[in-house]
């Protein structure tokens, strides 16, 4: 019984470690080079797959004007609602617009909104959070309370409320996402800085009389960045999902501009949903694949940034 348990308790990881030890004893292992985190991430099959899918989608969106044969906005009433064919890879929509071209061009806006919002939220969150965590003070307490207010709302409710006030446009949407999203990165950065603050090297830098700003942003922040990068990746995925949901509801990016959510908006019509699958199924799958790839990358980053999260 105990032997069986011992064997049953061995995971894939144990086997891997054994193989590494054997290789080491045989003198086959070379000395590792390069960044440990990078090597670790490249060793994770799922995040490599994620990276490949991510790059493929981003590249084709970037190169959309050169890849596509059709203008995404061009209405062609002679070829309306055509199913996928060699001429139109994903078919055409109700106005005869080429859906493949719309998906690629829509990706530019959707990815821009997702990535831009995540970077904007991160910039504010990191800037405020690192200094707040390091120095504290009344401003820090005020920001902390403010972030609590923002985070208490169910995110989509707050986003919709702000949309109803400021109106719909790409830049408004990014601003709203930044306003509702900075809180989590702020709190995370702040928490990391609070623990780093107690380390000896920080005491030493202080004793040398270095300016606070230099200690905070140059010496402490890089040590806090690992989990923050993971957070940025995951919030990119979240914002892309939110843009898609909002535009699907007709409350995100204005309908004239093609985005992934706006293309899916056509599926609000039960007739389209039931009979013209090519209008919404491919673009929905592209969103899912893209978000999945970002999540895989985020997961790989997490493992490489924080070994204690393994398994």
């Amino acid at each position: 019984m105990p032997e069986r348990r011992a064997r049953a308790g061995r995971s894939r990881l144990d086997g891997k470690l054994d193989r590494i030890r054997e290789a080491e004893e045989a003198g086959l292992l070379e000395h590792a080079r390069g960044s440990r985190a990078l090597r670790k991430m490249l060793g994770n099959r799922l995040s490599l797959l994620g990276l490949a899918v991510f790059s493929a989608i981003v590249l084709s969106a970037l190169l959309a004007p050169w890849i596509c044969r059709y203008d995404p906005q061009k209405i062609d009433l002679r070829s309306v609602l055509r199913p996928p064919s060699a001429a139109h890879l994903f078919g055409t929509d109700k106005l005869g617009r080429d859906i493949f071209s719309r998906v690629l061009h829509g990706g530019r806006i959707s990815i821009l909104v997702g990535l831009g919002s995540a970077l904007g939220a991160a910039a504010i969150g990191i800037l405020l959070g690192s200094y707040g965590g390091y120095k504290g003070g009344p401003a820090d307490r005020a920001f902390l309370r403010l972030s609590e207010v923002f985070m208490a709302f169910p995110q989509i409710i707050l986003v919709l409320l702000l949309v109803s006030i400021v109106g719909q446009s790409v830049s408004n949407l990014v601003l709203i996402f930044v306003a509702t999203g900075w809180g989590s990165i702020y709190r995370m950065t702040r928490a990391r800085m609070l623990s780093i603050r107690e380390e000896e090297y920080v005491q030493a830098l202080r004793a040398f009389g270095l300016p606070d700003l230099l200690i905070c942003y140059k010496h402490m922040l890089p040590n806090a960045l690992g989990p923050i990068m993971v957070n940025i990746t995951l919030s990119t995925a979240m914002f892309i999902l939110q843009e898609a949901a909002l535009s699907f509801l007709g409350l995100g990016v204005p309908l004239e501009i093609a985005t992934w959510g706006n293309i899916l908006n056509a599926a609000n019509d039960i007739n389209v949903l039931a009979r013209y699958w090519w209008i919404w199924l491919p673009v929905g799958s592209v969103i899912s694949l893209f978000v999945l790839s970002v999540n895989f990358i985020g997961d790989g980053l997490r493992d490489s940034a924080d070994p204690s999260q393994l398994g």
Binding site: S11, R12, L13, L46, R145, E148, V149, A152, F153, P154, Q155, I156, I157, L158, L160, L161, V163, S164, I165, A237, L241, A244, A245, F248, L249, G250, L251, L264, A267, I270, L273, A274, W277, W280, L281, G284, I287, S288, V291, L292, N295, F296, D299, G311
Partner: protein, 319 residues
């Protein structure tokens, strides 16, 4: 425990007050005449300019800001939220009419995600590192990556349109009202909302179970010679359950957000679809009121979660 409850409440109350203040500020700053918002449409229709001015005076709309805030807050505490700008119906009545449908959907989705999430999390933890665990982890990642509404659309296509097993949308057929008759309408939206929240529960249940599996009492149970299944399921899973119970409370914001989208797709006549209509129509009093109610519900839920955690684990009270 009483001291702890009081302490948590003293942290909760100012936050709730701050929320009401912010929402009132929003109401004041958004367009829309406060007279029409307070007086109701019937009274508005038969008035000229001087009467309106007198009404403003008598309603206290020329009072200082803080005085107006406290009068509004008093109304909110008595359940008086004013009137919808578009229909003139009292907001309290709109919400009261719509809330049962949303609660029904949320409760069903909570049930689905709790059962499915903890069962899958348990299976994943007991098979740690094996194929099943890895498959479930990847499935969980897919679960958080597919947009809820897209998942909903695909399920409508498959189960309602192609297989014709379930109705496409709505909450009931006109002639039936009992829960049993409504059940076919509830199944699909509840499953879609529930399954889309399952991944989070599963990940949490797995971590919680793995934690319990490493505890000393598990070894004690085994050394007593208890069967493996009993050790895992009775001793381990029960210890893992407490944090999972907490997670149910924290799912409320996801539930509220998710139900907005799901109600739209399935034409479920709940608060979420009313909220969307209000956002589209720039019906600010209704938008603000529903947002206020949702944030108060989330704050109250996290308060209850704190109390439940403290009741389950006495160490929490000391921190």
């Amino acid at each position: 425990m009483i001291a702890y409850t009081l302490r948590r409440f003293l942290a909760l109350a100012p936050m709730m007050l701050l929320m009401t203040f912010l929402v009132f500020l929003g109401l004041e700053l958004t367009p829309g005449d406060a007279v029409s918002f307070i007086a109701g449409p019937e009274a508005m229709a038969n008035m000229d300019g001087s009467q309106l001015a007198a009404l403003r005076e008598s309603l206290g709309l020329d009072d200082p800001f803080l005085a107006r805030y406290f009068r509004w807050l008093g109304g909110v505490l008595r359940g008086d939220f004013g009137y919808s700008l578009t229909s003139g119906v009292p907001i309290a009545r709109i919400v009261a009419e719509r809330l049962p449908a949303t609660l029904e959907l949320s409760a069903a989705a909570l049930l689905v995600s709790t059962l499915l999430g903890s069962a899958l999390g348990l299976a994943s933890a007991l098979n740690r590192g094996k194929a099943l665990d890895q498959a479930l982890t990847v499935a969980g990642m897919i679960g958080v990556s597919v947009p809820e509404f897209f998942f909903g659309l695909v399920s409508i296509l498959v189960f309602s349109i192609e297989l014709k097993w379930l109705p496409v949308g709505g909450r009931t057929r006109p002639e039936y009202l009992g829960l049993w008759d409504r059940l076919p309408h509830l199944v699909l939206p509840a499953l879609v909302l529930g399954v889309s929240m399952t991944a989070g529960v599963m990940r949490y249940a797995r971590a919680s179970m793995l934690d319990a599996l490493g505890k000393d009492f598990m070894r004690t149970a085994r050394s007593k010679g208890l069967p493996e299944a009993r050790v895992d399921l009775v001793h381990g899973f029960r210890a893992a359950l407490a944090p999972i119970a907490v997670l149910i409370g924290f799912r409320l914001p996801m539930l509220i957000g998710g139900s907005v989208v799901i109600e739209q797709i399935f034409q479920w006549p709940g608060v979420g679809s009313e909220f969307l209509a209000a956002v589209r129509g720039q019906n600010y009093p209704l938008v603000m009121t529903i947002a206020l109610l949702s944030v108060l519900a989330v704050l109250a839920a996290s308060f209850l979660v704190d109390l439940a955690t403290a009741a389950l684990d006495p160490r929490v009270k000391l921190s």
